[in-house]
């Protein structure tokens, strides 16, 4: 397994926005009700 070193230096608001965007992408789309 490869070592991975990471440094984190970021503004929280930017990170929150990125997390929100990622959560929205992963959220399943609501099914459209089919009309008769």
């Amino acid at each position: 397994m490869q070592i991975a070193l990471e440094v984190v230096a970021e503004h929280r608001r930017k990170r929150d926005a990125a997390d929100l965007e990622e959560a929205q992408k992963s959220r399943p789309k609501p099914k459209q009700s089919s009309s008769p």
Partner: protein
């Protein structure tokens, strides 16, 4: 803003994480208490290395240091931000360090808040071999004047030796 690598962060209340197995703030503070020595030998892997270029995001600036010893590593960073008290993060993990291979047995994960930002370092357990003609994308390389940690798609971290 820069992020290298892919990791899981365990954030807890207060936005402070300190889950390194052997992590102590004392190690991070000690590594940053070392003054750069003009006589440090960049041809040997063991010693204390400092990133060649600070990570910047607005007024947030981060400098990382990596201490490599025969039996452990310390990965640490210091963040400064206009109007804020500087923050030092980091931790120690057991490791085997040789000219051919760096193998980290534990993980390091330390993230703290500074103003409206986060400052942290993470290192996963694993190994990184010395670069060869056949292996040049995921490996470490002593260039004679510095140390490059090539992590494939996770990018390259470049360091200069500040102390043996």
């Amino acid at each position: 803003m820069k992020r290298f690598g892919l990791f899981l962060f365990a954030l807890v209340a207060g936005c402070t994480t300190d889950t390194g197995k052997d992590s102590t703030d004392a190690d991070a503070e000690r590594v940053f208490g070392v003054s750069a020595s003009g006589t440090a030998s960049a041809s040997t892997l063991t010693g204390i290395w400092e990133s060649t270029s600070p990570t910047k995001s607005g007024t947030l600036e981060q400098l990382s240091r990596l201490e490599l010893r025969d039996s452990f590593v310390v990965f640490a960073a210091r963040c400064t931000m206009s109007g804020q008290t500087p923050v030092t993060v980091g931790g120690r993990a057991a490791a085997t360090v040789s000219a051919q291979l760096v193998e980290i047995q534990g993980s390091i994960n330390d993230i703290k808040s500074i103003g409206n930002a986060e400052c942290g370092v993470t290192a996963s357990a694993g190994s990184l071999p010395a670069c060869t003609a056949e292996q040049s994308s995921v490996c470490f390389e002593l260039t004679g004047s510095g140390l490059n940690m090539h992590q494939g798609q996770n990018g390259t971290l470049s360091y200069k030796k500040i102390s043996d």
